[in-house]
Amino acid sequence: MTDRQGGAKRVVLVVDDDSAIRRVVRTVLEADNFDVVEAADGPAALLLLDAINGRGPEAVVLDIMMPGIDGIEVCRRIDHDRVKVVMLSARDDADTRDRAAKAGADAYLTKPFSAIELLDAVEKLTP
């Protein structure tokens, strides 16, 4: 629960086609002093990542099952040196976890998600 000393707020991009999930993730992250931007699908997320290239976000909270480009594909296209990825999915099977890991995901959480685990994961990935 710490703000980075002297620096700007850390930015997290939340990608989910479910607006209720985006809203609760935003609320949880903002309570811990993160700045949150949202995208409702894969293409919008990739556009945003390009648009704000180099100025964050430092992490993406990423749903998997989305129409169009799914979360696994979005994850694969992310520059993992710069941006950390927390998968947040209703799917809890080994195959999906494996595909997420291969796509470069740094953490994998399942829905319904624990706010504590989400914050712990994002904090750890954006020191």
Binding site: A20, I21, A90, P112, S114, I116
Partner: protein, 239 residues
């Protein structure tokens, strides 16, 4: 397609999934509450420990100053206990949390008075008295820079002032003298009178209590004396 499938394909949570999420957050709240409580208890323990350590440090400082005087052995501790009791009875203990440090350190300024004056067997000359009477100011200067010792510093500075203005170093009178210092004057005098000294025996509690009341309004704050009179019998005599 079932209704939940339709909803989720539209990117809308189903009532069931929202309910599950709510349950999960409720668990989080319980977990956080538990962690917070544990942390608060830990901090409370640390605080108690720190207060004890700090009090012991102050006590050591006070003993160093008076190490050469056999009488002071338990005098400082009795002044602290009596002083705290009287502050509580006056209902002001919470307003002056560092008063007890002042009770212990009242003579700390004596480190600045030459030993030949402090321990002179005969009466002091006028010049020696002038030096002796600087010890409240010296003590005040030692403590004044410590932010949480402001009350303690004021006790040290004013412990030889008198209600009627006849004291030193500044000849303050009445409520110009900080209340904790007025409290200290009473308990210090009471303890001196109820302790055997090389040159005289203890007056006994009853006589000492009478003396305190006799000096109410001249040497001491009459209100402080009144409250002290009510509790004098409850004070522990030997610590």
């Amino acid at each position: 397609m079932t209704e939940p499938d339709v909803l989720s394909n539209l990117g809308i949570s189903t009532p069931a999934s929202l309910e599950q999420q709510l349950d999960r957050f409720a668990l989080d709240v319980g977990e956080l509450y538990g962690r917070q409580k544990e942390r608060a208890e830990q901090l409370e323990q640390n605080l108690v420990q720190m207060r004890t350590t700090f009090l012991e440090t102050v006590r050591s400082m006070a003993y160093v100053v008076e190490a050469k005087d056999a009488y002071t052995g338990q005098h400082l501790e009795r002044c602290r206990v009596y002083g705290n009791t009287l502050m509580q009875a006056l209902g002001v203990a919470g307003d002056y949390p560092d008063a007890e440090y002042g009770f212990l350190l009242h003579d700390v300024g004596k480190v600045g008075v030459p030993e030949r004056i402090l321990n002179k067997p005969g009466p002091l000359t006028a010049a020696e008295w002038r030096v002796m009477r600087t010890h409240p100011i010296i003590g005040y200067q030692i403590l004044q820079g410590i932010p949480f010792m402001t009350t303690a510093a004021s006790i040290v500075r004013c412990h030889h002032e008198m209600w009627d203005g006849a004291g030193y170093p500044e000849g303050l009178s009445g409520e110009q003298i900080p209340l904790p210092a007025r409290v200290f004057q009473v308990v210090d005098a009471f303890d001196a009178m109820t302790t055997d000294r090389p040159y005289r025996a203890s007056l006994g509690v009853e006589r000492a209590a009478e003396e305190i009341q006799r000096m109410a309004g001249t040497q001491f704050d009459p209100e402080v004396c009144r409250i002290f009179g009510d509790l004098v019998d409850t004070l522990p005599q030997r610590l």
